[in-house]
Symmetry: C2
Subunit: 190 residues, 2 copies
């Protein structure tokens, strides 16, 4: 998606450790007009009329998922990250490894808000190693809902998450796939 790629080229910063910083428009300060354009692109990429829920995980995926939910005309649900071992009942859980915090994190979703009747589109801002998306897919599977696909804003194509998800036969669509990132030279996959 060209407007997103242009914005990454213009404002993204490449930090040591293959970190691509886009916190001026995507995940700290957020350009909601760009998010609206991205949400409309997801609607074109996922035209299925039976989608009933947009699913994401806190925190930085929420803004994009909320605006996508409005475009799709369905509710948004977001998995929470467990803050303690004191977890109440009635929840779907999935343990993932957080590369950001270098520790195990448990994703939680109330069973009330995801059921076997749901058709789910997962939306998130970033895909790198794919742990968060793997956890969300596991929660969808546990709920018995149907996974329609996964929509990502920025995929780091040089990390394994995208390949792993596509090899499962899941319909993964990323609006920008970064093939390589060096200072002043960000290359996108065509």
């Amino acid at each position: 998606m060209q407007p997103l790629k242009d914005r990454i080229r213009a404002e993204g910063r490449v930090l040591p450790g293959n970190i691509i910083k886009v916190d001026g428009f995507l995940n700290h300060q957020v350009d909601v007009q760009l998010l609206r354009a991205m949400a409309k692109e997801f609607r074109l990429l996922f035209p299925q009329k039976d989608i009933t829920k947009i699913l994401t995980v806190e925190a930085s995926g929420i803004a994009l998922a909320a605006i996508a939910a409005e475009v799709f005309g369905v509710p948004m649900v977001f998995a929470k990250k467990a803050k303690s071992d004191n977890i109440e009942g009635g929840l779907y859980q999935s343990d993932i490894y957080s590369y950001t915090y270098k520790k195990k994190v448990t994703l939680l979703m109330s069973k009330q808000w995801l059921t076997p009747h749901d058709h789910v589109l997962i939306v998130d801002d970033f895909l790198a190693n794919g742990e968060a998306i793997r956890g969300l897919i596991e929660i969808v599977e546990k709920s018995g809902a149907t996974l329609t696909g996964v929509g990502i804003a920025i995929e780091k194509g040089f990390q394994p998450g995208g390949k792993i998800i596509r090899e499962k036969g899941i319909n993964l669509q990323s609006l920008a796939i970064i093939e390589s990132a060096e200072e002043n030279n960000i290359v996108f996959r065509e």
Copy 2:
């Protein structure tokens, strides 16, 4: 705001410890159409044309703040909660006490995204003891930006946050103020 109050009465659950659970439409599953109506109400309550930023804090305020930002035609910024003591430079910080997690939490905001030129509307989903809002106000003060006001979805009027903020002379507007909450009997302030 009547549609929000109706929804709280219809679907809100009162749990021991004065917890009001609205996770079917506000902070776990999210009804984005209701959020859009709430954002338009904020626009009526805060008609100031010089607002440049909507500010919130992760995680559950982000959806409402994102849609409010679209209605106001400005970017949204959200303060992050520190996950470690390893905090980089270039950040405004504010220490708050989290009643949810029963510990100190540090709010962080990059200095890049809040400047003395900004006029800021703070938006959040809940106001109870007011610690999160106190932290956001402190960050606005540290940045030198102008605080236009604070817009809240649900204020727990029987907890001190609202009174403390109003006594500072800050323009605080809550779309629903709950005066008392018992099972099957939620009373709103008129």
